[in-house]
Amino acid sequence: MIINHPLLGPRDAAEFVYLGDASLMNRPEWKGEEASDEQTEKTLDAYHDYLYIRENKAGEHKELWYHEQGDRSWLIVTRNTITHGISKVELARDIAVANQAKGESKK
């Protein structure tokens, strides 16, 4: 497999380490120091789903790859699990920054 690194160009998959579903980026917010029991329960549920529940898609799948034998970038690779075709490769940090900005604007 070849992953087209957004900064470094096409690279062999052997340079990368695979982590899994890109939903691991969406870590739930902490319950806070003074959380009620109800709030704690809700947060625990959110963490449970975050850590253990995955969609098992046949088709386009966003996943995390780490360029360990390279520049140490974490990447989000959009890979078709049926054909292995890769349609998009993004720097995970860019997505994380964008997500944070979205979260801030909601507040």
Binding site: M1, I2, L24, R27, W30, E33, L44, Y47, W74, L91
Partner: protein, 987 residues
């Protein structure tokens, strides 16, 4: 007498060099051949028709094909450690001194004692493994399996280390062309002329494919002449790389192909060069021009030596000037089969008969030959070689070679490696590549169903031209060479139906007959995949290249279906067998993975240390002194010297991560379960890292060197994982934090200096301006200092051993010098360098957790560190470690254990039960994680997990060793066997 079947036809296009005679041995007998021969062509030239025994029934078998699809002619090639089993004689290039032996027989090849199996065949039918040898059960392992294993099978391995070198390499190209037959050469010429970077690969040692085996003309000259001229033209192009003797074995993602190049297989000695190279080829586009493979017609007793593929017979005659027989017959259902008869007749070989299943006008006449139209071969005779064929019209014809042609199958293999399904072509009666090809693969020529020479070459030329243009390569491409356009008329006659008991072989290599297939279907195996596995059809080295379609024809007929309705089996890499050595390449023995040496390695080596592998690291385990006869003596001494005075240990293998930025403290708060932002500059703190699920991930100390710089240590084993995890957190979870990480593991040599005299020793090497007194540099202090007159260093006052201890770090290049300086300074204190074993003893005596305790099953609560998990901040694992199941009152707790009878020793892995209870899973209360003999206490000590351990001090329990089935009484004690109040650390 030699080479009785070698022709003297004046064939100028033969590929053999009659000037160069080559001598070789087969089953101990010396034969002669010529340069350019394969082992198969040379054996045939010498009249050696019988070359092996079949897999199950030990039937005599001869050479069947002239290519890599060969099911029968498998031999041991070379001898001794170089011996290679299951080598196909049809592709083994002949060289002077080659040694080959036949496989799978006991006694001489001609009188194989195991041939009795053939008479036992009623008991060895499809699935006999599952039926005949079922009962009684114990007989399977003890009797049946060894007997069957001994009787069946193919070649034998040498059981010696492979003495040859194998390499791996990487190649890049615009267009990879797979197969250098007429199509591939036409494609390579077009792409090469356009200016594309081309790789043209072919498994044969002579490029040209079928052109070398046929008498067709191309561009007014013989096909083989045109091919060798074209190859010379390609060779002269800088942008074209020719890989002969190279098989493309697999199609992988994104234009990657794997290829095996046989570099020195055709030489007597490799002379230090790699024998084979496994290439990983990166291509923008690939053209599959792998040609077609001829398929047989199935008929009774069709497996006798002398029955061969018609195209192969033609190859032996045209390419190698060898006739496989003196009176050759042809059995065909298509026009191409006739070509064998005409080519042979032209060279003066006697044609005994042409038998065509079609009731059409004969395509040719041959003097003295029977021409039988609308007729079939219904049986054969000849024990060790074909003698006669019996026809459906009752005629019996004397013949010693039967050339069989059932039509040609496009070689779709590599087009199906991504689960592409080939589609059925009703004109060819064969599968052709479907529409779901691997990305950027194009199929040309016979592989795509363009069977005639002219159409094949044109398709290769056109596809290459188009791809090169699309890549923007604008070189002038010449027109495709003109070639003959022969008839490819054929029919769908698959197998001869008879009422006799005679068996018709479908898969020669696995001894599967048409009856086996019908039986499998009767027993309910309907899917092709199931029949394949039940009968072993299409398995082993040839993967059914000649047998799959004939078998499917039998299946379809029996099921009343068409072949495409049955579907196909799945093609997987490799295309042809690849030896394990080739896959391994240089990654063997010591080179299996890199070895990491510690900065003090040279020093330890000089002292005679024993080393131990710790991951990829080599660490000094202990260093024996003269007179010490047991490792325990050495380790006990190292511990005692350290605890009594001072000892040094190389701890550079621990991961070191430099963390910088104004948010470094906040970042560490979130990485560790305890707080780091409050750590004062110049101080060190122990940190526990959790996984998000609340399980302990790693631990270590982190020092704050400045307001914005921390240095973390991780365990040796987790250095890589922790760094990866931290980069994930930094980039993916908290990109807003101003923090940067870099691994500094290899940049520093770090030594622990431990023992009551540690400070006195260090004061001799640390430059005077740095105050390291107890007041100036208290327990858990850290700082940047200099040693030995200006060498930059870092000093950390931390202790794993429980003694007054420091860790000193210097740039790696000073590693050996620093250790020597420490030992020189330590002479007056009787200092010692201790190894990993003493390190382990001391940390167990002190009750420190390590890998055995942080085993991926334990929580902070189990470790007795539950209160370290801060509830005042967010950190990885903070939430889920609060789950009720993670903090139960009766959870396992880490405590110490001593044997009640102090003379007894403990074993790690022992399980605990309450005294009087049966040692079983139900009563299990925990386990011992680490044990050591404590020289300080004079008896064995252990640490481990036991339910509510912290509340059970003084209680005695049973420790059970399930491996040796013994028990021992132990007492639960504090894990801190040494200095429980920690006074030694602070003096």
């Amino acid at each position: 007498m030699s080479q009785v079947n070698r022709l003297n036809s004046g064939n100028v296009h033969t590929a053999i060099n009659r000037e160069k005679t080559v001598s070789f041995k087969f089953n101990g007998q010396t034969f002669q051949g010529y340069e350019g021969d394969t082992l198969a062509s040379a054996l045939l030239a010498n009249g050696q028709v019988l070359v092996g025994r079949s897999f199950k029934y030990h039937r005599p078998r001869g050479i069947f094909t002239a290519g890599s699809e060969e099911p029968n002619a498998l031999v041991h090639l070379r001898a001794g450690a170089h011996q290679e089993p299951n080598a196909r004689a049809t592709v083994a290039e002949l060289f002077n001194g080659l040694v080959a032996t036949s496989q799978n027989h006991r006694g001489p090849l001609k009188y194989d004692l195991m041939a009795i199996n053939d008479l036992m065949s009623p008991f060895l039918s499809a699935g006999f493994y599952y039926k005949t040898f079922m009962w009684p059960k114990v007989f399977w392992e003890k009797l049946y399996e060894p007997v069957i294993r001994h009787a069946a099978g193919l070649g034998e391995i040498s059981k010696l280390d492979d003495p040859d070198i194998y390499d791996k390499g990487f190649l890049h190209c615009d267009i990879l062309i797979i197969g250098a037959g007429p199509t591939g050469i036409a494609a390579a010429l077009a792409a090469g002329q356009a200016g594309s970077r081309v790789i043209l690969a072919d498994e044969d040692f002579q490029m040209g494919g079928r052109l070398n085996s046929e008498t067709y003309e191309v561009a007014g000259v013989s096909g083989s002449q045109w091919a060798s001229d074209a190859i010379a033209t390609l060779e002269a192009m800088d942008n074209v790389r020719l890989l002969k003797r190279t098989t493309i074995v697999g199609t992988y993602d994104h234009g990657i192909y794997s290829a095996v190049e046989r570099k020195t297989d055709h030489l007597l000695q490799s002379d230090g060069k790699p024998r084979q190279v496994l290439w990983k080829i990166y291509s923008k586009h690939a053209i599959l021009s792998a040609g077609a493979i001829e398929r047989p017609i199935t008929f009774p007793n069709n497996d006798r030596p002398g029955v061969m593929m018609a195209g192969a017979v033609r190859s032996y005659v045209n390419r190698w000037d060898v006739t496989p027989g003196q009176a050759v017959s042809v059995f065909t259902n298509n026009d191409d089969g006739w070509r064998t008869a005409t080519d042979l007749a032209e060279k003066g070989i006697k044609i005994a008969a042409v038998v065509d299943t079609r009731s059409i006008e004969p395509l040719a006449k041959f003097p003295g030959a029977h021409i039988e139209m609308g007729t079939q071969v219904v049986d054969t005779t000849g024990r060790h070689g074909l003698k006669t064929i019996i026809l459906s019209n009752g005629k019996i014809i004397d013949t010693d070679c039967l050339a069989v042609s059932g039509g040609w199958n496009p070689n779709v293999h590599l087009s199906c490696h991504h689960r592409g399904i080939p589609t059925w072509n009703t004109d060819l009666h064969a599968f052709v590549p479907g529409n779901d090809l691997p990305a950027e693969m194009y199929v040309a020529g016979a592989a795509n169903g363009d069977l005639s020479l002219a159409t094949a070459m044109q398709s290769g030329h056109a596809i290459a031209n188009k791809l090169a243009k699309a890549l923007g390569h604008k070189g002038r491409v010449k027109a495709c060479a003109k070639a003959e356009d022969e008839s490819t008329a054929n029919s769908d006659f698959w197998f001869v139906k008879t009422d006799t008991k005679a068996r018709s072989w479908v898969d020669f290599q696995n001894d599967v007959t048409s009856k086996d297939i019908v039986l499998a279907q009767q027993e309910g195996f309907n899917s092709v995949e199931h029949v394949k596995r039940y009968t072993t059809l299409g398995m082993a080295t040839d993967q059914g290249k000649t047998s799959n379609l004939p078998a499917m024809a039998v299946m379809a007929d029996n099921a009343g279906k068409t072949i495409p309705e049955l579907g196909t089996t799945i093609f997987r890499p490799p295309y042809t067998p690849v030896s394990i050595s080739t896959w391994a390449g240089r990654s063997r023995g010591k080179e299996f993975r890199p070895t990491r040496l510690t900065p003090s390695h040279q020093y330890a080596e000089k002292q005679g240390a024993e080393f131990v592998e710790v991951g990829a690291w080599m660490r000094a385990q202990w260093t024996p002194k003269p007179g010490e006869t047991h490792w325990r003596q050495t380790v006990d001494r190292e511990v005692t010297q350290t605890r009594n005075s001072v000892g040094m240990c190389d701890v550079s293998t621990l991961g070191k991560i430099d963390i910088q930025g104004k948010d470094a403290g906040e970042f560490l708060n979130r990485i560790y379960c305890n707080t780091f932002s409050t750590l004062k500059v110049g101080m060190v703190r122990y940190g526990l890292m959790l996984r998000e699920d609340g399980i302990a991930m790693d631990d270590g100390t982190t020092a704050r060197l400045t307001e914005t710089q921390y240095v973390m240590t991780t365990t040796t084993a987790n250095a890589v994982n922790v760094f990866r995890h931290m980069e994930f957190c930094r980039q993916c979870l908290w990109p807003d934090l101003d923090v940067h990480l870099i691994s500094a593991t290899e940049q520093f040599a770090q030594y622990s200096v431990a023992g009551p005299n540690a400070r006195k020793l260090l004061q001799k090497v640390v430059d005077k301006e740095h105050d390291i007194s107890n007041e100036g540099f208290p327990f858990m202090a850290c700082g940047e200092i200099s040693v030995c007159g200006g060498t930059p260093a870092r000093l950390f006052r931390i202790s794993f051993s429980g003694e007054l201890a420091y860790e000193i770090a210097v740039p790696t290049r000073y590693g050996v010098a620093m250790m020597e300086a420490l030992m020189e300074a330590g002479k007056e204190f009787d200092s010692v360098v201790y190894g990993t074993e003493a390190l382990g003893v001391m940390r167990i005596e002190k009750g420190h957790a390590a890998g055995n305790e942080l085993n991926g099953q334990t929580t902070a609560h189990n470790l007795g560190m539950g209160r370290m998990v801060s509830k005042k901040k967010d950190s990885i694992g903070n939430m889920l470690s609060e789950r009720p199941e993670m903090v139960q009152d009766d959870a396992n707790r880490l405590v110490g254990f001593t044997p009640v009878d102090k003379s007894k020793s403990l074993n790690a892995g022992m399980h605990f039960v309450t005294i009087g209870n049966e040692p079983n899973t139900e009563n299990d209360e925990g386990w011992m994680t680490s044990v050591a003999f404590s020289p300080s206490l004079g008896h064995s000590v252990g640490i481990g997990y036991i339910k509510r351990g912290h509340e059970r001090m003084g209680e005695k329990v049973t420790a059970f060793n399930a491996l040796q089935n013994n028990t021992i009484e132990v007492e639960i004690v504090s894990a801190h066997f040494i200095d429980p109040k920690g006074e030694r650390l602070r003096v």
